[in-house]
């Protein structure tokens, strides 16, 4: 059965599609996503302190490489099969190289429900994965020929709202450790799933609004929005195995690889690749891949990882 938090997503989706009067104020969306990002960061930061530095560095570099590579897989498909203009292909590709914090949060809830273990410094890899795809997307759109505003790019990559809260949370969690955070546990940890439920309610409403824009861009995008995460999840799982992660950890890396950004990358692309059409990339990332991943993908990628470990082990 579906995790109950997903029922909130379906409620939002239904309310949106039925054009109900339900509309959460933007400030509530901001509060809820801020709490989610901080919670995830803090939880990951606590674990960082326990990891040997070299392991972390090694994993970070491997994952950076994956985030930079995935857009280069997606781009030719979008450009030559989907016949998208160059800027649009680059922008969509960047979305799929990056990650969705919401998808990760749903996966955490799913894994907790099924008592699946995974490396608990995963939020660190999540933060790392936010970054390279943005740079890859800009390069794909502009090539190396044209002057790229390095300052603007750096600003977009490192100083976006999401990345600051995630990395800030990681640092605070790392510095304060588990005892230090006991006093903020009721807000950031105990309320986590309730906050996630509100977030998914809102995401349902937002997703419903994307369907309209999807209709214009047709079947190709829908297929891409399902095919691409399937392919990426395999890349993520294989990399997880190569890095020596546990089965749960490899599955989680598959989920991260499969997820597509809808916060950091859209904001960065809007400034750095303005000629890309944002309704197109948000349409496929939010309208297709996000619901596919949270409703179907997460258990699927976990099953894939389990099978892969059985095969590799046998």
């Amino acid at each position: 059965m579906l995790d109950p938090v997903l029922l909130f997503f379906l409620l939002g989706l239904a309310a949106g599609l039925l054009r109900s009067e339900l509309r959460l104020p933007a400030a509530v969306y901001d509060l809820v996503s801020m709490l989610l990002l901080l919670s995830i960061g803090l939880k990951g930061g606590i674990e960082l302190a326990k990891q040997p530095f070299m392991d972390l560095a090694w994993q970070a570099m491997a994952v950076l490489a994956m985030g930079a590579l995935l857009p280069f897989l997606a781009f030719p498909v979008l450009r030559f099969v989907g016949r998208l203009p160059r800027a649009d292909a680059a922008s969509v590709a960047a979305h799929y190289g990056s990650v969705s914090v919401g998808t990760y949060a749903v996966a955490v809830a799913y894994f907790a429900g099924k008592q699946i273990e995974f490396e608990s410094h995963m939020p660190f890899l999540l933060a790392v994965l936010e970054i390279p795809a943005i740079i890859a997307g800009i390069l794909l759109a502009r090539g190396l020929s044209r002057k790229i505003h390095l300052r603007t790019m750096a600003h977009e990559v490192f100083l976006g709202k999401g990345i600051v809260l995630l990395i800030g949370g990681l640092l605070i969690g790392w510095a304060a450790g588990p005892e230090g955070l006991v006093s903020v546990k009721p807000l950031f940890f105990d309320l986590f799933k309730g906050i996630l439920a509100l977030f998914l309610l809102e995401m349902g409403l937002i997703t419903a609004a994307q369907f309209g824009s999807l209709r214009q861009h047709g079947l190709f995008l829908v297929l891409f929005g399902i095919g691409m995460p399937l392919a990426s999840s395999v890349v993520g799982i294989v990399l997880g195995m190569a890095l020596g992660l546990s089965p749960g950890g490899a599955a989680m890396l598959g989920i991260l690889a499969a997820s597509a950004s809808y916060i950091a990358v859209p904001a960065a692309m809007r400034i750095s690749v303005p000629e890309a059409n944002p309704t197109l990339s948000l349409g496929v990332s939010l309208g297709v891949t996000f619901p596919f991943n949270v409703l179907v993908g997460i258990p699927l990628y976990h099953a894939l990882a389990t099978k892969a470990f059985t095969l590799a082990g046998g």
């Binding site: 509309r23 959460l24 933007a26 309209g212 859209p266 809007r270």
Partner: protein, 100 residues
């Protein structure tokens, strides 16, 4: 009262542009600006302001004709093609014209 005429330039656009636009507006010589959050609909479809990506802002600038024209042209060249944006101007009477 000494009153005098200035241009009121109103820009409605995506809130993603706020940071860069206010930089441009100041560089082109305006002495101030006012921003309000907005939502709306135009050629690029509805912008419902339920989250950051779909929010608009309305920027009002009171300035002299030359500055208004300079800003309008700059925006038209740099942002009109790729961003949801409209822009209109009117004459307003101001007190203390030296402020603008």
């Amino acid at each position: 009262m000494n009153s005098s005429t200035r241009k009121l330039l109103t820009i409605i656009t995506e809130s993603a542009l706020e940071r860069v636009l206010v930089g441009d507006i100041e560089k082109l010589g305006a002495h101030g600006y006012t921003i309000t959050d907005a939502r709306g609909k135009g050629h690029r479809g509805p912008r419902t302001a339920v989250w950051d990506e779909s929010s608009n802002i309305r920027i009002d600038v009171v300035c002299d004709d030359v500055t208004a024209m300079a800003i309008a042209e700059h925006l038209q060249v740099h942002y009109y093609p790729n961003y949801g944006m409209i822009l209109f101007m009117s004459d307003v009477a101001v007190l203390r014209p030296e402020k603008f």
